[in-house]
Structure formats: structure tokens, C-alpha cells
């Protein structure tokens, strides 16, 4: 799934890591906008560990790099639905919970997550949803995915350019799980998407942000973090959690099995779990932290952002993305290509 692909072209390439001189060095590969300005500098100053840091723009990009098993990275941040595949591929190192003394700071939601109930492989870091961002100056605010299927926003609606998101929304509209793998369900979802296509302006990812801020677009399917950036720029925009349900994802820190610096990596993970550190990051980055203690430290105008932190009742409608089995993935790509070709 390609999130924030516009920046893909700027993605930094990773060179094999090495330890220069006697300063221990840790190699961290993360999503953009996921650390604060001084997060790394403070860690370096406190521990004397040098951090080599680079960013990626999609899980696939990161996986393609680390799949070889000698990528030179120590810590990466896959989304929750990539944890199981990466574990199966033997890429992940089992975490030593004794060294992660700050794990208790995680929000209750992430103490026993479905994708790794014992937190043996990953530490949830940031999370988000995909819902509807819309212009409140329009009559009839969209409340459900079905509203994006009505002609009232004809030509002024966009969906994400991503098969998991578009078919996910269609499946939710049909009252099905967004992780449906059956051929019949996926075909029904494609039928819905086909019906919707003539109503759409385009399939856009992060680039829709500027256009909805400028007023070109009335409503769009968007990731909550990108939506929050748009809302910051244009207060007349609002984020809705669709009535039929919506997708949730969490990006989690993992230590790669190839890492020869597991000790340093744990130290870094534990550092990121410190409430002051985690709070400092999201104060700048406007993403949702998985760190419950940190969230409570934030000023209300940050921790109360509804686009980032849905209330408990809303959260019940959310569904976590899961890894798609190979056969379903093949079928979904074919259905996606058909949709685009139509």
C-alpha cells in the first residue's frame, strides 16, 4: 500500500550500515514526519549512540529493502498488517521485554493488539484511520461511505489511489469486513467501485490535500493524519468517521533479525516510549501517538483532535487492516486493474 507516494521519488536510499570508529551507530528507517526536530539529537546526546536516519514512503518500499536480510537497517516501522508477513519471512527479531521498561506507557488499545497480542515482535508507535474529509460549507455533510456514491458531489469527490482503501470502503458500504478475501465479496466491492467511478474527479493520495484546501474538491477519502494537516490549513474542513465503519492502521517499531546492535535498538525503542519524547514528537508532527501516557501530557487542543483520536464509541466501528493472502492479493490487483481500465 503506497501511502504518501508523492514523496516516494524523494525517498532516500539506504547504504549498508557500518560502525565508524568507536562510536556505536544505530540505523533507523522510518516514515516521513515521524520524529520531532530534536528527537534524534537528544538520544545521541544522552547515549553517545550515533543514529543514521532515513525515510520511506510505503511499506513495500521498506520491505523491498530489508527483504534481502542484509540491508544494514536495525529498526524499521512497518504497518501492523506487515508484522505477520515480516515475521513469517524471518525478518524480525523477538523483542526482549525486560529491556523495554516503558512499554506500560502504551495506550490500552495497544497493550494486546490483535496482530501481536504479546508484543513479542513490535512496539506500536503511531496510528490512524482512513475516513472522509469534507468541506463544511456545503449543505448535507457526508456521514457515510454511501454519501460518496451519490451524485450530489458529482465530479468533486476523490478516493484514495490504493486498492486496499477503495475496495475497503466499498466492502464497508456493503456491510462486509474490509479484510474480506472471498472472490464473491471482492467482486461485489469492485461492482460498487465501478458504480462510483463516474462520480469521481480522480483517485488521489496525499496530493488531494492542497486541492481540498483550495476548494477544488468537496469531499475525499483520506488518511486521518493527512486530513489533520488539511484541517490545520483550512478550518472549514472536517473529518468524518463513516457510519458503516472505517479502516485503522498502526505503524509499529520492530528490530530486524539481521541487526547486530539489538541492545542499542532496544535502548532506542525504550527511549521512543518515554512519555516526554513521544509527546514531543506528536506536538510537532500532528500524528496520533500510541503512547497513552504521552497523550495525556499533551495540551487539550492536541490530544482532543477528533480526526486523530476517535472516541471509544467511534473506535468500535473501526477495523484494523490485515495482511491479504497471496491469492486474494492477486485477485484484488486484477479487479483494481479492471476498475482503472473501465
Amino acid at each position: 500500500m503506497t501511502r504518501r507516494r508523492t514523496l516516494f521519488f524523494l525517498g532516500l536510499s539506504g547504504l549498508a550500515g557500518c560502525t565508524r570508529g568507536n562510536t556505536p551507530r544505530l540505523n533507523v528507517f522510518n516514515w516521513s514526519n515521524y520524529v520531532g526536530d530534536d528527537t534524534l539529537a537528544r538520544f545521541e546526546a544522552r547515549t553517545g549512540i550515533k543514529v543514521r536516519y532515513a525515510i520511506y514512503e510505503s511499506n513495500e518500499e521498506m520491505l523491498a529493502r530489508v527483504m534481502t536480510g542484509n540491508s544494514g537497517w536495525d529498526v524499521v516501522f512497518p504497518s501492523n498488517y506487515f508484522i505477520e508477513p515480516m515475521r513469517e519471512m524471518g525478518l524480525l527479531a523477538r523483542l526482549d521485554r525486560a529491556r523495554l521498561t516503558n512499554l506500560a506507557n502504551l495506550d490500552a488499545l495497544f497493550q494486546r493488539p490483535a496482530w501481536d497480542p504479546a508484543l513479542a515482535w513490535c512496539v506500536p508507535y503511531m496510528w490512524g484511520s482512513s475516513g472522509i474529509l469534507y468541506d463544511t460549507r456545503l449543505a448535507d455533510a457526508p456521514r457515510a461511505w454511501a454519501d460518496l456514491w451519490t451524485p450530489r458531489f458529482q465530479g468533486r469527490v476523490t478516493m484514495l489511489d490504493d486498492p486496499a482503501e477503495v475496495f475497503g470502503a466499498a466492502l464497508k458500504k456493503l456491510g462486509l469486513s474490509l479484510n474480506s478475501t472471498g472472490e464473491a465479496e471482492l467482486r461485489r466491492a469492485q461492482g460498487e467501485a465501478m458504480k462510483q467511478k463516474p462520480l469521481l474527479r480522480a483517485y488521489l493520495n496525499a496530493e488531494v490535500r492542497d486541492q481540498i484546501v483550495a476548494g477544488d474538491i468537496a469531499a475525499c477519502q483520506l488518511w486521518a493524519t493527512t486530513a489533520q494537516q488539511a484541517i490545520d490549513a483550512a478550518p472549514h474542513l472536517q473529518y468524518a468517521y463513516p457510519r458503516e465503519g472505517f479502516a485503522l492502521y498502526a505503524d509499529c517499531a520492530v528490530v530486524l533479525r539481521e541487526s547486530r546492535r539489538a541492545g542499542l535498538a532496544h535502548e532506542f525503542l525504550n527511549y521512543l516510549l518515554e512519555p516526554e519524547v513521544a509527546a514531543g514528537i506528536v506536538r510537532v508532527s500532528r500524528t496520533a501517538t500510541a503512547n497513552g501516557v504521552a497523550r495525556r501530557m499533551l495540551p487539550a487542543e492536541v490530544s482532543g483532535l477528533r480526526a486523530l483520536y476517535p472516541d471509544a464509541e467511534t473506535l468500535e466501528r473501526g477495523e484494523w487492516f490485515q495482511a491479504l493472502p497471496a491469492a486474494a492479493q492477486l485477485l484484488r490487483d486484477r479487479l483494481w486493474t479492471e476498475l482503472k481500465s473501465a
Binding site: 520491505l63 492479493q329 486493474t337
Partner: protein, 276 residues
């Protein structure tokens, strides 16, 4: 002498072998492997990836890409020929005009494509101006359609046509044009019956230089087309990202390359002269 030739050849040959032939060979091996569940490739060997290319769904995408590339190339020819002729005949200012043609290459293609989005969108420069002047009352849908894709491609690749065409036109013997006038041909007739046939090699080279990148383009169709359709470049990209099907992506990429090479070969055999 022979040794000197070898020394001169080695760096370029090594570069091509290491950075072009080797990756291509890897890609060729990928096409006969099975897709890994989460990307990558695995055993066993199979020809299934090549068989899938014959699927009408993918053939239609190939056909659509050819049409888009063909239309863009035709527009480039229509726009580029007068421009090249003008530059070739502008005497002392020739170098200035050539520099202007190449000026866009000073900035990244991605940035220039984004600039087109700012021009074409509803709240973009063109629509805002037309609205303010009262020419239109609703913004024109300029972005995210075939028109925008073709404008972007023509804009991006026009210089590739103008430069070889200019080189041919400049080398043309002016005496031939004078002879044409002396023998009673009007200016239009001279262009049609003397200049155009004589510039054919440059035109052909330029058209090929435009057609091939247009065929594989994925940035422009994606950004200006808004993802509502799919061309072969995007199809290949999807196989390496969201579809996680490297073998099929490799097969499409190599298949496209093979097709282009066959077409060039047919063309060269018919024309009987080297292309570029």
C-alpha cells in the same frame, strides 16, 4: 591501434554491462519465477507470467498506451516542425532559441508536472483568469482527463523532437531551397515537397525519441490523469508496489521493451537506414 580502441571502449562497455545488461538479465530471470507472497520472487520456474500478458485486459492497456503515445507524438510533430524550421533559419539568434528549448531541462520533470497541475486545476491560473474575465461561469474541467495527460506528454517531450529535427534542417543545403524557388515553387510547395522530405531522417529520429518515452511514461499520466485510467507504465509500477507481483511486472516491462525493439527493427529494415 587495436589496443587503444579497446582502452577507449572499456569504461563505457563496463558501465553498460554493469548498469544496463546485468539488471536486465536479473529482470529476465524474474519473469520466469513465481511471485513471493509478500513481494520478491521464489521457485519454481514458470511461464505463467508471460501467458498472462495475452490477457485481453492487459492487451487493452498496451493498446491504449500506444494510442496515447501516438497522439502525443503526432502533436509534437505538428508543433515541432515549424519550430525547428524557424530556429534553423533564424541566423545569429539560433543559439539563443536552442537554449530556450532546452531551458525546461534545468528543473526537475516532477516539479514541472506539478506546475501543470497548478495551471489546470479548478482554482488554478487558467480557470481563475477565465472566471475573473467572465468568459466562463463554472471552472472548466481541465485536469484529470486525457487532454491533460496529452498536454503534459507533449510539453515534456517536445524538445526531444525539435533538437534532432533542427540538426537535420540546419545541415540541409540552402541551394536546394533556392533551386526550388527558382523553378517556380511557392513557399508552401517548397516546404511540402523539398524541406519536409529532406528532413525525414530527423523527423523520424525525433518521433521515435518522443514515442518511446511516452509509451512508458507513468509520472505524467498518474499526476495529470488522476488515476482514473491505467497505462502500461502505471501497470508495471503497481506490480512492484501494491500488487507485490515482481515476476509479472518484469514480464510486462520486458514485453514492452521487446515490442518496441521489434517495431524499431521492422522500421529500420523498411527504411534501410540507421535510426538515430
Amino acid at each position: 591501434m587495436k589496443r587503444l580502441r579497446l582502452i577507449f571502449l572499456t569504461p563505457a562497455a563496463a558501465l553498460l554491462a554493469g548498469l544496463f545488461v546485468a539488471p536486465l538479465a536479473i529482470l529476465a530471470v524474474y519473469t520466469v519465477l513465481t511471485r513471493g507472497a509478500y513481494g520478491g520472487v521464489s521457485a519454481p520456474f514458470t511461464v505463467e507470467n508471460w501467458m498472462r500478458l495475452a490477457d485481453p485486459l492487459y492487451l487493452a492497456i498496451v493498446w491504449r498506451s500506444f494510442v496515447v503515445a501516438g497522439v502525443s507524438t503526432a502533436i509534437c510533430v505538428v508543433l515541432g516542425f515549424p519550430l525547428a524550421l524557424f530556429i534553423a533559419r533564424s541566423g545569429a539568434r539560433k543559439n539563443l532559441y536552442l537554449a530556450l528549448v532546452m531551458l525546461p531541462f534545468w528543473t526537475s520533470f516532477l516539479v514541472r508536472t506539478y506546475a501543470w497541475m497548478f495551471l489546470l486545476r479548478d482554482t488554478g491560473l487558467i480557470n481563475t483568469m477565465l472566471l475573473a474575465m467572465g468568459v466562463i461561469s463554472e471552472p472548466l474541467p481541465l485536469l484529470y482527463n486525457w487532454g491533460a495527460v496529452i498536454v503534459g506528454l507533449v510539453y515534456g517531450y517536445l524538445p526531444f523532437l525539435v533538437l534532432p529535427l533542427f540538426a537535420t534542417l540546419e545541415r540541409m543545403d540552402p541551394a536546394l531551397v533556392e533551386a526550388s524557388a527558382d523553378l517556380g515553387a511557392g513557399p508552401w510547395q517548397t516546404v511540402w515537397r523539398v524541406i519536409l522530405p529532406l528532413s525525414a531522417p530527423g523527423l523520424r529520429a525525433g518521433a521515435i525519441l518522443v514515442f518511446i518515452p511516452c509509451l512508458g511514461a507513468y509520472l505524467t499520466p498518474d499526476l495529470l490523469g488522476g488515476g482514473k485510467t491505467i497505462l502500461i507504465g502505471t501497470l508495471i509500477q503497481n506490480q512492484f508496489t501494491s500488487a507485490r507481483d515482481w515476476p509479472f511486472g518484469s514480464a510486462v516491462a520486458l514485453g514492452l521493451m521487446g515490442l518496441v525493439m521489434v517495431l524499431l527493427w521492422l522500421h529500420a529494415r523498411r527504411g534501410g537506414e540507421p535510426l538515430v
